[in-house]
Amino acid sequence: MSWTGTSVRRKEDDRLVRGRGLFTDDELEPGMLHLHILRSPYAHARIVRIDTSAAEALPGVACVLTGREVAAQCDPVMQLGPPPCDKIRDLPMAVDKVIFQGEPVAAVAADSVALAEDAAALIDVEYEMLDAVVDAEDALSDRSILHEAAGTNRTWQGVYEYGDVEGAFRDAAFVVRIPRMQFHRFASTPLENNACIAEWKRQGGVDFLCNNSFPGFAQQLLAPGLRLKADQVHIRTYDVGGSFGNQIWNYVYMAVAALVSKKTGGRRVKWAETRSEHLLASGHGNERTYLDTEVALDREGVITAVRSRHIDDCGAYTRYEPLGCVIWSQVLAATYKVRNLRIDFTQTVTNKCPVVPNRGYSRMQQLWFMERIVDICAHELGLPADEMRLKNYITQFPYETPNGCVYDSGDYPAMLTRAKELIGWDRWQKECAAGRKAGRLIGIGIGTTLDSGTNNFGQARIMNPYLPFSGNSEVCTMRLDLEGAVIVCLGTTPSGQGHETAASQVAADVLGIDPSMVHVRPGFDTAWNTFVGHSGTYASQFAVTGLSAVHGAAQKLKAEMRRLAAYMLEAAEEDLEFGTGAQGPEVRVKGTDKAINYWYMANLVNNNNALLDASLADVTLNVRHVYRPPFKVPDTERKFGNLTLTYAAQLHIAVVEVSRETCRPQILAYAAVDDCGTLINPQIAHGQVHGATSHGIGAAIMESLDYDESGNLLTGTFSDYCPITALNLPDIAWGNIETPSPFTYSGAKGMGEGGGAPLHTMSAALQDALHGAGVIVTGSHHPAPRLFEILQKPNRAEAVSVERRGGKQARR
């Protein structure tokens, strides 16, 4: 039997359900110091004076650290972007001025968290207020500049143009114009806040236990910042309570903790962020504004060209940015076959929390944009939403997109059919039509989306041609331990995705044994475990990068075991088979009872090697495999190349009714169909789909990080941010199709981010419900107050226009 495709019960669960996980804050030690960070109450202000004397005098306080000391001890983090980003000085603490509410201005280490907080309250900071810019277009006017040395708030600008856009508009039967749309700011907010424990070592270097989810990258940023060699930055992770990309950049706080430890002479310092701090100053998702969008269509309703201007708001610092200015182009035209596109893309800083990768990072903003275009065009041209999609879907695979990406496989029409079956499309269509006649605000909407996985880091060069990044990799080591146990170590940093389980399934399949016989050791460790620069858990890639590394390592180990067994059993290698015998895992001569078990093989190499022939001198039963996907460096001039290896797809349908009394959107039915190629562990994949769906529904109807015009965060606690609860979610009908990827050994595609499908779907369902009321859905966030406003002032007259060029009406 094959373990791939089987819902093996997770190995991780036993410790987690018993409360025996080890999350960073669980590490306790007498004498450990606790860190509290004093943060700016203002979004933009000069720091005139800081007086820390009262705080330092408090008994139990070990030290206070300010920005000036940080600037003296630490170098600014490398900027990824081209000029003027090189002029941005990004230190882990504000020095002369603060540029977002919550930016660290001082840190206190004390014997307890409470004492550290008490001391921080005694620090006296004098600020001189500056004008805050919180709106992206306002920021681009440069009336108030965040990074003065850069001379502008604009951090990146580029034009992505493919095909014959002018020609397509000249020949269009219809041109639909949408002057403005807006994708809102939210974050997936993992339940475990950021945390780290830092210890500056006397022999030089620093040890971290933390929950960073891309430590291979963090090490490369932290080492030069802390003036250390990379190997002196020792990063460990163990259990991580969710990440969704958000935990990629907590290296900023790791640097603060390291410098505090250094100042105390090397005492261990723990920093455990509070939820309010997390919402205020951890990392938000990218906001995006879409201006002057024009869509050309032929007389059948096939989209022939799109042109638009996009402005991305990355908050106060370009930490992982401006990578988001390229990442979106992995899904340039989403699931649609339009070949003529021109997107003028600009990014700006604003006086808000910096953005970080957030589940569906930068692609979901583009996918939402394309879905809104398709959906608004359907409604304005009177075409059924499903037909409109079927006319425009890509149907041939592998498919090379206009910008050189290769969609590996897919069947979007089949997914639509399946989702329609699951939700009862025809019945709901009738009910919606009848309901609207009776005055109900009820609609049904489709959201099609992509979860592009396994990045080609070479795409970073489209953003900045001088960046020394390309390709991708992940690593696995595997050995037969002294007593013959199969031990597997990974370079990944799972935060709930079941890597220990899936890796054991893959190794078990190669060796022909049971996954319970494979021991996957959790925990990332730059000193004692294996890793590569791309190591981590992000960007929907474990099923491809991580498991290909496991698969490769298992094959290498198997090859060594086969040579060893052939020698000892005096048999030809091709006459051997792997499996489980009476004494456990073994290699045997086919059709005989001659066998050698794992213990014996391991013992031969490790304890009893005088029995071995010199021809086996290279057999160690301890192998390492690095998987590298087949990528090339993209053509940066043309902005052309294959940017991701696999394209999982999601198709959701929702039925939504807006209450006439309360304007609350209620989901009456919801279906989600997923295609992530071959399933490794169906139960885990299913769980990821549900999780991504929950995030998207939460973001669509509840969650938003709102600022006032002075840059004060208005939704700074969970009570204000309102993460979705079990009561707000409908039952979700789940379906799956499998179009195996031709580009991976197993046919699996990376998955888990989900492409923001519910955001597109909820917008489409609301469009259907509200079109009759004169509403065009141009935003991604739909809480009751917003729906109330739009119903008071329907926007159709200014939100959309349709130019008909004498051709006949698109057919119904």
Binding site: D13, D14, V17, R18, V240, G687, A692, L727, L729, D731
Partner: protein, 165 residues
């Protein structure tokens, strides 16, 4: 009875998972801090600071309580059950087993609080319908699972417990 000691500390006595503990605590110490830092029961997690997420839920004298919203001194004399007290003789509680079998956890950070809320729910109502289950865990956030499999797990555990498994 609580008594104030020198240095503003207050002596309390709590029984946690069947073991009695005496401690002298700062009046401002939260119950969750007592459990995690003093008693080293780190299975009870902290996920927010506004009593919203429920990661710190424990059972105090039979009632589910968010232990970040109760002072340790308020728990003086109480019987407390935490996630570490669910398994008996190493054997998983039916709820723990059902969470694993139904993939009711991903990162596992909300899981202890979820288990304790579910435990309280099933003590009140051994046969809840799905809506009652949703209501029973409405004070517990999960950012990974979308709740679907948690609801299925509680449903399965309830059935198993009714059958005495």
């Amino acid at each position: 009875m609580s008594t104030t000691e020198a240095g503003g500390r207050i002596a309390i006595e709590v029984t946690v998972n069947g073991t009695r503990h005496r401690r002298e605590v700062e009046p401002r110490l939260l119950l969750v801090q007592l459990l995690r830092e003093d008693l080293r029961l780190t299975g009870t997690h902290i996920g927010c600071d506004t009593t919203y997420c429920g990661a710190c839920t424990v059972i105090v004298d039979g009632e589910p309580v968010k232990s970040c919203t109760m002072l340790a001194v308020q728990a003086d004399g109480a019987e407390i059950l935490t996630v570490e007290g669910l398994a008996r003789d190493g054997e998983l509680h039916p709820l723990q087993r059902a969470f694993s079998e139904n993939h009711g956890l991903q990162c596992g950070y909300c899981t202890p609080g979820m288990l304790m809320s579910a435990h309280a729910l099933l003590a009140r109502n051994p046969d809840p319908d799905r809506k009652q289950i949703r209501k029973g865990i409405q004070g517990n956030l999960c950012r990974c699972t979308g709740y679907h499999n948690i609801i299925a797990a509680i449903d399965a555990a309830a059935a198993a417990m009714r059958e005495g498994k």
